[in-house]
């Protein structure tokens, strides 16, 4: 096999004849040099004589094909045998077309070595024409590019792995050039964010329509990019091609080439619109709850599963004067009255353990230091999965209710006392009346009249909520049953405004009733022109003495008053009443008629 010409790039066998020895020497030196280069570059050369069909390979090409030097058969068919079956057709077509059009070719293909190993080859070929103009020879260079091909393949695989990982961990990926302009975007952005890939390409992130990102935020983001630093979760709001606002979060890493030059950014992005919406809704809901909790008249609170307080509404702080730091864990208990603390802690502790609603009353210290009554009621909280989360509850000041209850008890006690006292008075009236008038008919009349006087006193006092009654009303109510409508002038009532406390008012009613009864039976009211003047005066005394009241009862126009019966009920009642009032009484029985005078200090009005 002749290889002398193989390796030269020029058409062998066409050298002009001349000083062969000289030229041959120089040529030999050049060929040695060339061979060295070819070996270093793992390049092989070949020559194909189209007319004869013989093919010459350099030893380097034989080595690429896994053949020992000189082992190549020297036919095109033998070469064709070595080509990987999948690439064979494409190589033959390239060669054929190269011959037909007398054009160079450049192809890549795989070969299968005798040991079955597959190698990648890159080949270039050139066509030379014979004197007839038809192609006569073809020469070429082949290079083993398996390693480059493998590296390329690995890169492609790594790239595709990155993309599939990016696709799994995020909504889309993107790439930017060194000027931060998008060069690539995964198509998912169209479906997931409503923006086409094309709308991104060639633009920076801030050149895209965005809302809700301040100049300052952009400046910070761009500063990170300019420093070629990675960034995470840069959140911004895009206006997509449909006009929707889409919240996005971007992560990016800078890309550098082998020489360490910055080439741009690559990263992923996510549509976080739903998350933002939920966050905003949650924040709003939280805000609404706090606003409501703080505006509510009750104090609201939340505890966690371990029983520690995590929220107390503003009302609690305002009521107790505690501060945020005071209520941590069980700090709120410090505002509870020391005597009630154990009970409150026990009730709450049990409820927390049993996860059951509770309600407990305790005294709660106000910011001023005094204590109010409060009712604290709570219910357990459970998550959507049924997990126990703690309690939520409210504390309501029930001081007024408690005081009202106490007031009510006092009022009931007082009412009970009054009823018993009144029954005792009625009992006494009955026994006194019975002593005086044992005959049933007379008893009934006298007893009923005295009861009516007592009832009149009670009616007056009830109208004024048992604070007292005016002396004028006491006199008028008591005398009314004794004055016929046609003889209104028979009684003359006059005096300044005076309010009499309840016990004294009852006494005065009963005394006046006895005097009127006497007048109707024996005195002025028995005569057609008889008159009674009931008058009173009020005389101020030096402090602290109360004013002095002098009440006088003067009968005129009736028969002369009979001799006084000191043991008579009326006389005794007048005297006993004067004793009760701390005053004195005088009864005069003269020919013009009865004159009674009752002087007493005005008792202070009843407290209520």
């Amino acid at each position: 096999m002749d290889r002398s010409g193989v390796g030269a790039m020029g058409p062998p066998g066409r050298d002009a004849p001349g000083d062969v020895a000289k030229i041959g020497k120089a040529q030999q030196a050049g060929e040695d040099q060339l061979r060295f280069i070819l070996q270093a570059g793992r390049m092989g050369t070949w020559e194909w004589n189209v007319e004869t069909g013989s093919v010459c390979w350099s030893p380097e090409l034989e080595a690429i094909h896994g053949l020992a030097p000189g082992a190549f058969e020297g036919t095109f068919a033998a070469f064709q045998e070595d080509i990987h079956p999948e690439d064979r057709e494409h190589v033959l077509r390239a060669v054929a077309s190269s011959l037909e059009q007398a054009r160079d070719h450049h192809i890549e293909y795989r070969i299968v070595r005798p040991d079955r190993r597959v190698r990648w080859v890159e080949g270039r070929g050139k066509v030379f024409s014979g004197p007839s103009g038809a192609p006569s020879r073809m020469v070429g260079v082949c290079m083993d590019v398996t390693e480059r091909k493998t590296a390329e393949e690995a890169l492609r695989e790594s790239e595709s792995r990155f993309r599939s990982l990016a696709a799994l961990s995020s909504d889309w990926y993107w790439e930017q050039d060194e000027h931060f302009r998008f060069t690539d975007f995964s198509p998912a952005v169209q479906d997931l964010a409503g923006s086409s890939v094309a709308s991104h390409i060639g633009k920076t992130r801030w050149e895209l329509p965005t809302v809700g990102v301040t100049e300052e935020q952009w400046a910070r983001h761009r500063a990170v990019l300019e420093r070629h630093e990675p960034f995470r979760n840069f959140e911004y709001c895009r206006l997509n091609e449909r006009g929707d606002t889409i919240w996005m979060a971007a992560n990016g890493d800078p890309i550098f080439d082998a020489a360490g030059r910055f080439k741009g950014y690559r990263g992923t992005g996510n549509n976080i619109t739903e998350r933002r919406r939920v966050e905003v809704a949650l924040r709003e809901s939280e805000q609404r709850f706090r606003t409501m909790a703080n505006a509510a008249p009750a104090m609201l609170w939340i505890t966690e599963a371990d029983g520690t307080a995590s929220f107390l509404s503003r009302g609690w702080y305002e009521y107790t004067g505690q501060r945020g730091g005071d209520v941590h864990e069980a700090g709120w208990l410090q505002a509870v009255h020391p005597d009630d603390r154990e009970t409150a802690a026990g009730v709450f502790g049990d409820a927390n353990a049993e996860r059951k609603p509770f309600s407990v009353d305790y005294r709660l210290r106000r910011a001023s230091g005094d204590y109010g009554w409060a009712i604290d009621a709570g219910r357990p909280r459970f998550g959507a999965d049924g997990a126990f989360l703690g309690f939520i509850g409210s504390v309501i000041d029930i001081t007024e209710r408690k005081q009202a209850e106490e007031r009510q008890k006092l009022l009931l006690d007082e009412l009970n006392h009054r009823v018993k006292n009144t029954l005792a008075i009625i009992q006494s009236i009955a026994s006194q009346t019975l002593r005086e008038t044992p005959q049933p008919a007379a008893f009934k009349e006298a007893f009923s009249a005295r009861l009516a006087a007592l009832a009149g006193a009670h009616s007056l006092l009830t109208k004024a909520l048992w604070r007292g009654a005016s002396l004028r009303d006491i006199v008028a109510v008591t005398l009314t049953p004794f004055v016929s409508s046609s003889r209104q002038e028979a009684v003359d009532i006059g005096g300044p405004a005076v309010v009499i406390e309840p016990n004294a008012a009852v006494t005065l009613c009963l005394v006046l009733h006895e005097l009127a009864t006497n007048a109707a039976k024996h005195g002025a009211l028995t005569a057609p022109d008889g008159r009674i003047a009931v008058s009173w005066s009020r005389t101020e005394q030096a402090a602290p003495q109360p004013p002095q009241i002098e009440l006088s009862w003067i009968e005129r126009g009736g028969p002369p008053a009979g001799l006084p019966n000191k043991r008579g009920f009326g006389s005794r009642l007048v005297a006993a009443s004067a004793d009760q009032l701390g005053g004195e009484a005088a009864l005069e029985f003269n020919t013009r008629g009865l004159e009674a005078r009752l002087r007493f200090p005005l008792p202070p009005p009843a407290r209520q």
């Binding site: 018993k420 006292n421 005792a424 006494s428 002593r435 009963l510 009642l573 006993a576 004793d579 009760q580």
Partner: protein, 122 residues
């Protein structure tokens, strides 16, 4: 009724109608009403100066408790019966004596007086 025959009683009751009825009852029982008062100050004077065997005291005089009066009488070694419209809470703390609630039956008061006199003598 002989148990109380001739017993001298100090009556302290601020309600005139009740005071009169009580005095009549005592007379019916053979007692002598040694004195009667409706207010604390006159009652204190009587408690110090009057000769009597037993006092029947309304526990509350015009809103004032009769503790000083009861202590004065107890200091003299004389028995007391309390009459009250405020239930048993109306009884005095420092002075041990029978308590009769208003309204009362005549017999109830009589027994209370006998009891008080008996305690004093026993």
């Amino acid at each position: 009724m002989t148990a109380l025959q001739g017993i001298r009683v100090l009556v302290v009751e601020d309600e005139p109608m009740l005071s009169l009825a009580l005095q009549d009852l005592l007379v019916d029982c053979g007692c002598v009403v040694a004195g009667a008062a409706a207010r604390l100050e006159p009652a204190l004077d009587l408690a110090r100066t009057l000769a009597f065997d037993i006092a029947v005291l309304d526990a509350n005089l015009g809103g004032k408790r009769v503790d000083p009066l009861a202590e004065e009488i107890a200091a003299r070694g004389l028995p007391i019966v309390f009459v009250t419209g405020y239930g048993l809470d109306g009884a005095l703390r420092n002075v041990r004596a029978p308590v009769v609630e208003k309204p009362y039956q005549d017999e109830t008061l009589r027994r209370a007086m006998i009891q008080a006199l008996g305690q004093r003598h026993g």
